[in-house]
C-alpha cells in the first residue's frame, strides 16, 4: 500500500473532502468531541494518507515547526474504523517520521492521547509532560529525538 504525500494545494477537492470527512468522523463523532476540527492550519501542512476507492484508510498531517509548536509535529493521526488492527497506524507514523527526518534535524513533538502512550513509545517518542485535558481528552506531550543513523 503506497502513501500519498501532498501539500494542501496539491490535494484534489475530492481528496480534501474525504480527509475532512474522515477526521470529523473520528475526532468529533467517534470521540464525542465538539472541537474546532477544521482549524485553519491545513493549508500550511503536508498531508500523508492511504486511500482506497476514494476512502481514507489512514491519515495524518505534518505540521511545520513554529506553526503550532516550536518543533515539527504529526497531528490528526487516524486509521479508518474498518481498518484498525491492521498495523496501518504504525506504518503511517513510521512513514511520517521518515518524511520529517529527511527534511529536518529537529525533534518531533506530538500531543498524544494518553491511551496511545505505549504505541508512541514504541515508535521512539518519550512523554515530556504530565497528562492534561485538551478538548476533554487526556493528552501528554511526547517528543522524539532525531535518531542517529548508526
Amino acid at each position: 500500500m503506497t502513501y500519498k504525500l501532498k501539500r494542501f494545494e496539491q490535494l484534489t477537492l475530492d481528496e480534501l473532502y474525504a480527509i475532512l470527512k474522515s477526521r470529523v468522523e473520528v475526532f468529533v463523532v467517534e470521540q464525542t468531541c465538539p472541537y474546532p476540527e477544521v482549524d485553519g492550519l491545513d493549508p500550511d501542512c503536508l498531508h500523508l494518507f492511504q486511500e482506497q476507492d476514494g476512502e481514507i484508510l489512514s491519515y495524518c498531517r505534518l505540521i511545520p515547526k513554529n506553526l503550532r509548536y516550536q518543533y515539527p509535529s504529526i497531528g490528526r493521526i487516524l486509521v479508518h474504523p474498518n481498518h484498525r488492527k491492521s498495523n496501518y497506524g504504525r506504518k503511517l507514523v513510521q512513514e511520517a517520521i521518515r518524511v520529517l527526518e529527511t527534511e529536518t534535524k529537529d525533534p518531533i513533538i506530538i500531543h498524544a492521547q494518553v491511551y496511545l502512550l505505549s504505541f508512541y513509545q514504541s515508535l521512539g517518542f518519550e512523554a515530556i509532560t504530565e497528562a492534561y485535558l485538551e478538548d476533554g481528552i487526556l493528552h501528554r506531550d511526547m517528543l522524539r529525538q532525531p535518531q542517529g543513523k548508526g
Partner: protein
C-alpha cells in the same frame, strides 16, 4: 471599494481553498458553537450547490442548496450560516432570498423543505415557509420542519 458578490457553485466547481473555508465555517458553527457531535460532511455536498458571500478571502455567509431527492423528496436549503463576526448586518435575509430564488427559478424546484431551528420560524415565514411538524430536538436544539410551495396562478 471592494465589490462583494454572491457566488453559487456546484461542488466540483469550488476550489480547494473555497471548500476549506466553507468547511471551517461549518465546523466552527455547527460543531463548535452549537456543541453538536455529528457527521458534518455527510456526502450530500457533492450533489448540492453552494451559495456564499466572500469578502477579501473571508466567507461571510453560506448555505447549500440541495435538489429534490438528496435530503427530502423536495429540494432543501441547509447549513444556513452568517459568520459570527457579521451577524446583525442583514446578510441572512439576502442569503435566504438568493437561495429561495435560485432553487425555485433556476433549479425549477416547486417545493422546498427545511429543518429550521425553532426560534427562527418567523424569519423563514418571511420567505414563504410554513411550519409542517411539531417541534423536535436535534442535537439538543429545538427544530421544526417547514415547507415552501410555489403559489400557482390557477384561479
Amino acid at each position: 471599494m471592494v465589490v462583494i458578490e454572491w457566488k453559487i457553485k456546484k461542488f466540483h466547481a469550488l476550489t480547494t481553498t473555497e471548500w476549506y473555508k466553507i468547511a471551517k465555517l461549518r465546523s466552527d458553527v455547527f460543531i463548535v458553537e452549537q456543541a453538536c457531535v455529528y457527521d458534518e460532511f455527510d456526502q450530500r455536498d457533492q450533489p448540492s450547490l453552494h451559495l456564499f458571500l466572500e469578502d477579501d478571502g473571508e466567507i461571510l455567509s453560506y448555505s447549500r442548496l440541495m435538489p429534490g431527492g438528496v435530503m427530502y423528496k423536495e429540494a432543501s436549503i441547509s447549513r444556513v450560516i452568517v459568520s459570527e463576526n457579521h451577524r446583525g448586518e442583514g446578510y441572512a435575509g439576502q442569503l435566504l432570498q438568493q437561495a429561495v430564488d435560485y432553487v425555485s427559478q433556476v433549479m425549477k424546484e416547486s417545493a422546498i423543505k427545511i429543518q429550521a431551528e425553532q426560534y427562527l420560524t418567523d424569519f423563514y415565514r418571511r420567505f414563504g415557509f410554513r411550519v409542517i411538524s411539531e417541534p423536535y430536538l436535534d442535537c439538543g436544539i429545538s427544530h421544526v420542519d417547514m415547507l415552501r410551495e410555489e403559489e400557482t396562478d390557477d384561479l
